[in-house]
Amino acid sequence: MWFMIMNSVDSASARKVVKDFDIHGLVKLRLEWDFYRAILEDLDLKLNYFRVAEVDRPDILVSIGPFKPTLEGCEAYDGKYFVRKDFVYCTDRNFQCRWEFQLSGLSGSQLVMNVHASSYNARAALAPNLLVHTLLMPLLEWEFLKRGFLLLHSAAVSKDGQAYIIAGRGGAFKTSVVMDLVRREGYGYMSDERALVAPHLVFSFPTHLQIFAYCLSKLSSEYISPFDKLRLLAYLLANRLGKEREIVVDSSQLVGIAYLSPSTEPFQLRRLDVEAAASKMMANAFLDNFEMPKIVGLGMSPILGCLMAYVAAFPKSRIANIRSEFMSRLRQTLTGLPIYEMTIPLTYGADTARFVREVLTQ
């Protein structure tokens, strides 16, 4: 039933909604949506801190809606990834949805991504949204890397113009720690999920800023009860991003890095050398490929599959060197910084917050 409705709207959609984003003047992004999906998009607030009225010549153009790929002359990998010079197409399906996307202009000045997904049930109706955002992050990482910036999976806070990066995998309490530092120690918020980093410099990259700000002011921790979720939803529907912007610090000087490691061992502080920290960050980036939203039904990011296929087809392209480019930029960024690993307990409590605060203030 849902499937039929979705398809009938598909053919009727003529109106497009365009949303533009400008990320610190470094990367410009445009999303084009079909009309009916714009309703869903309003719930999706990941990047709205960077919303602008209009950008000219976006670096990444994402177009969501049905499209017809031309696969003539492509090489096929795993029966799923279709590759030719500067072009990748990928398609897959599961019980909940069927989706496809293509990337073109991989080495040109504008990267174009077309995404289309149709869902078989109501729960999976969010799939296009989720898919776009899981696909978009690695593309942004690539665009930033081309410009010499790293988009790292880590939180960032700042005080008196000095920024700290707090890295950790999922479940390492990054968000809780950031909330705590902002609330009690007067740190400025830069991000709780991704940090945009250049040598000696950090730029803010707040994702889901409204949700973070809501939790910060209304809730005691990052964990939201079902009741609070409803209230949050009502809040998001009624309010646009506004005064939350004030808590964000846009750029700061990078002065230190801390890794959060939830562990069975007692509190510990350990200094890491550049090589260990870099290889930790590399593993962190690789593991991101396996953290996928459940609805899409994927074990692994299709972008990783596309990358492996593209490199196999074009081993001399710039993309083939993405790992070594990432590593050398990372080493350059980390050199000379104090890097610590903080071992914290498996559950978050007041003593964890105190420990992290003490470490950062030293």
């Binding site: 090489e75 795993d78 019980f95 069975t264 593993a283 490199v311 196999a312």
Partner: protein, 343 residues
């Protein structure tokens, strides 16, 4: 059960309960060619039995992997299959793996866990488990490497009819300019058995049935039929050979067909990606381990694969890329064979 892989690496398997006999049968089918009465100092020890969540000191990664010094525990799933697995000795010479699969997971244990584990141990020893089909005639091997569905298995059927022996269907061991057999069970699908082939008659019904299931479930349940190389192609296994030529298969959409020489570095890079993609779920565990133990000797495992492929391929200068229409994979080996003869 003990397996001896070309006297390079021994591995042993113990099943703690009889309910795991399905997994044991599956392992026997997969690595039956290496069965041995006993092995000295096995480099891999596999136990199939209940796996407890460890209580020792550990760090959690993604709330899913528990990682300690030299070990990793994880609960993982793929579609309806799920398993608990515990690796230890990751940074040592000999590794142990304990695994507790559910009913659906027994078919996934060899490709997801055991073969990549053997690959990792070979990598530590300076060899390389290459994702490629290997055929040999008169002591000269031709290797075909490519991603899944590129026609490696289909080529076996043609190769045997042309008088070649088999080194491996999916993997071969590269060992200092030579290639050693790794004849894991052949994966039979409807699409990779040539019409009218006199081989694998025994399995044809099963293959047809599984194809039907695949169609009914819209690709979700894609079951594979496994047949050991010795049973499917009796008397065709060859144990080692020197590498004569390597072909990188790129299946194309449309009718494009070309064979061109390819530089060593390009072939190695493509092959590295191929190995990564083949064992990606295993490398995911390795990365979770490396996140906690960044100073591990495996921290540069991708470079290691690359360098060892290069080193172990030394001396083989016939490297080609073959772009071939993906709709007619059954003709692939004849083109390769003709190219070999005309060279």
């Amino acid at each position: 059960m003990n397996f001896n892989i070309h006297d390079l690496l021994g591995f042993s398997v113990t099943a703690e309960r009889s309910i795991y006999c399905r997994v044991v049968d599956r392992l026997r089918l997969e690595y039956g060619d290496f069965l041995d009465k006993q092995v000295n100092a096995p480099r891999v020890h596999i136990t199939i039995g209940p796996v407890e969540k460890p209580s020792r000191c550990y760090q959690t990664v993604d709330q899913k992997y528990l990682v300690g010094e030299d070990w990793l525990y994880c609960r993982d799933s793929y579609k309806v299959a799920n398993w608990k697995v515990w690796f230890s000795g990751i940074d040592s010479e000999a590794m142990q793996m304990r695994v507790e699969p559910n009913f659906f997971a027994s078919d996934l244990i060899p490709p997801f866990l055991v073969t990549p584990l053997i690959g990792l141990q070979l990598l530590k020893m300076g060899y390389c488990l290459g994702h490629a089909a290997g055929m040999s005639k008169d002591g000269q091997a031709v290797l075909l490497t490519g991603f899944g569905g590129s026609g490696k298995t289909s080529s076996l059927f043609t190769a045997i009819d042309r008088g070649f022996g088999i080194l491996g269907d999916d993997h071969v061991i590269l060992c200092r300019g030579r290639v050693l057999s790794f004849p894991t069970a052949v994966s039979l699908f409807k699409y990779n058995i040539p019409a009218g082939s006199k081989w694998v008659q025994r399995w044809k019904r099963e293959v047809e049935l599984k194809e039907l299931i695949r169609r009914i479930t819209l690709n979700y349940v894609h079951l594979v039929t496994k047949a050991s190389v010795e049973e499917a192609f009796p008397g065709s296994v060859i144990r080692d050979s020197s590498v004569n030529a390597v072909y990188l298969i790129a299946p194309s959409v449309g009718n494009h067909l070309s064979i061109s020489e390819i530089e060593r570095s390009e072939l190695v890079e493509a092959w590295t990606q191929n190995i990564l993609s083949d064992s990606i779920h295993f490398f995911k565990y390795l990365c979770a381990y490396l996140y906690v133990n960044p100073s591990s000797m495996l921290s540069d495992f991708i470079d290691r694969i690359r360098n060892q492929l290069k080193a172990n391929l030394d001396g083989c200068n016939n490297l080609f890329k073959i772009v071939f229409p993906r709709d007619s994979v059954h003709g692939l080996f004849d083109v390769v064979h003709d190219h070999e003869l005309s060279r």
